[in-house]
Symmetry: C2
Subunit: 344 residues, 2 copies
Amino acid sequence: MTDARAPRSRTGSRPTIRDIAREVGVSVATVSRVTHDDPRVTGETKERVREAIDRLGYTPSSLGRALSYQRTNTLGIVLPGLGGPYFAALIEGAESVAVERGVAINVLGTHLRPDAVASVRQLAERTDGLIVAGGTIPDAEISRLAAAGRVVVVAGESAEAPAVLTDGRSAAAELTHHLIETHGHRRLWFVGEPDGSPDTTLRYDGFRDALRDAGLDEAGAPLRYGLDVRSGALAARQVHESGLPDALVCANDELAIGLLATLPGLGHRIPQDVAITGFDDQSLAEIASPRLTTVHQPVADLGAHAAAGALGDDLEPRTVLPTRLVIRESCGCAASAGVDTTTD
Amino acid sequence: MTDARAPRSRTGSRPTIRDIAREVGVSVATVSRVTHDDPRVTGETKERVREAIDRLGYTPSSLGRALSYQRTNTLGIVLPGLGGPYFAALIEGAESVAVERGVAINVLGTHLRPDAVASVRQLAERTDGLIVAGGTIPDAEISRLAAAGRVVVVAGESAEAPAVLTDGRSAAAELTHHLIETHGHRRLWFVGEPDGSPDTTLRYDGFRDALRDAGLDEAGAPLRYGLDVRSGALAARQVHESGLPDALVCANDELAIGLLATLPGLGHRIPQDVAITGFDDQSLAEIASPRLTTVHQPVADLGAHAAAGALGDDLEPRTVLPTRLVIRESCGCAASAGVDTTTD
DNA sequence: CTGAAAGCGCTAACAG
DNA sequence: CTGTTAGCGCTTTCAG
């Protein structure tokens, strides 16, 4: 044993429950009770404890509590990345229910993590529930996590965990159908990486469904680009060089915006020379010009439902939230009433 | 089997170090050593422990470890919100150094949290270091946190904690100066909420510095809008109704993009009728048309430096990262072949 | 009404 | 080379 017999209260560090107890001359149990507003503690002692707590600036260690409670009061969210309005909206939705229940949120972006699985496992340990976005980690890993704790998949599916999603396939088909039937387009291309996530896969599938139903062949291989604005600008260049189809069906709004903003500079008018559609209906979609025809998704609701499920609410194996086709002008439809028409 | 007296190995739960120890017939210390690759453990026992670990699917509880180590191996980041490219870039920068050092990241968006301070305190407890963005919590709270642990402020300043930032004031002044001197604009408005964050305050201050230096009066009160695209669209309407100044100096790129995209629909050409500038140089700035004149900020670097500091690297009290004026076409300059870098 | 003590999962001296 | 044991900070029976 060391000379100084002061095993507790390491100088620079935060005070612990024992520091308070010693200070006041009570037991740690009493201090604990005070921090919990336990009615069993006397007005007098209670006051003294409170005073010491304030004076020393004590706050219970949530780590210690978590270990004791066997509950962390934290919700984990696993996403591919944190960029872009889609994930921001998803997080906000989840956060709204987390706030309501006094739970903290911990988000993990797997894209930047070389060992995503290990990171997710670690996250799982530090949280009471997990929301996992489709396409972030292998399904086998999801099953493993689901066996150990509460997991819900969002925008994807899993054999072992409940899922919250939209019917992106039908929505994409409906959108594509509109392009074909209403506008008579025959040569359509899909823009986006179909294998990027379950969501984009479904959108591509829906796109092909509609073509098939119309007896059309795919006008070309999908243009495999990331789902961000910058990739859209790149895609625009490729499209410009290879010659334009009748319509470009983009995997999401940001990609579409990139095309929309770049193509005019290359001499192509939208929608006269080529129709463009998006997916998600982010706020950018309404601000772009021409305004973007797209599919509205209740992204925040996806997050909220998933959060509720991950936090213990009962959830169907599959919760499918509705989407809505939003027709604006980028597909070639006329501007609807109430909006300035500055076509051409 | 459902004997009440089975304190260990609660059925549904994850196995603990004791479960493994009992399974193999060794002590927990041995198991701990194996999980740490301690060379002191024999090839034979080691194998059996490993086997049991795999078979039972044991992973050490990071909570338990954190308590014992007195270190969480986690970095906390406090931001106003998680939306928008600025914060995404900041996080990516921080994440890059976190990944490098095998540390997890935990981000907190205060905007959606009614009690931001309490949330931050809780986060502080669960992390080894904290990055706090300017304008998220009161300075007094930052001091309090800094006294207890490692804190660095990013895009802001504090008396007690080191800061990583850019000289937004000078940059904004330089930008405004360009508008005044090169383009001869006299009536300039600032768009954005000056009191929104230290960063925007500084930009507004710089804007006024330039006006004053040129002997100009402010052409109007700042247009107090949020820093997102949608707010830009709103601002466009207001500007349209009140009549246009010569130039609009926006607090960030997103706001500028909102204006840029909306004003043409209201019959105003950019930059002929009104010049517009942004701030940050996000990827949208280059894609917009006309392309946005703005100030480049090394946002990811801000995040990276802050992370290094929060993780223990020595940091100056103030680390100022350089900005760069990026002249494109939205200010009225002619399109150039390459990208302009500096002025003067 | 209060205190002692066991326990949450893990690590790290300190013996053997 | 391996086991015992005392913590890390907190909660919570169970006695008093």
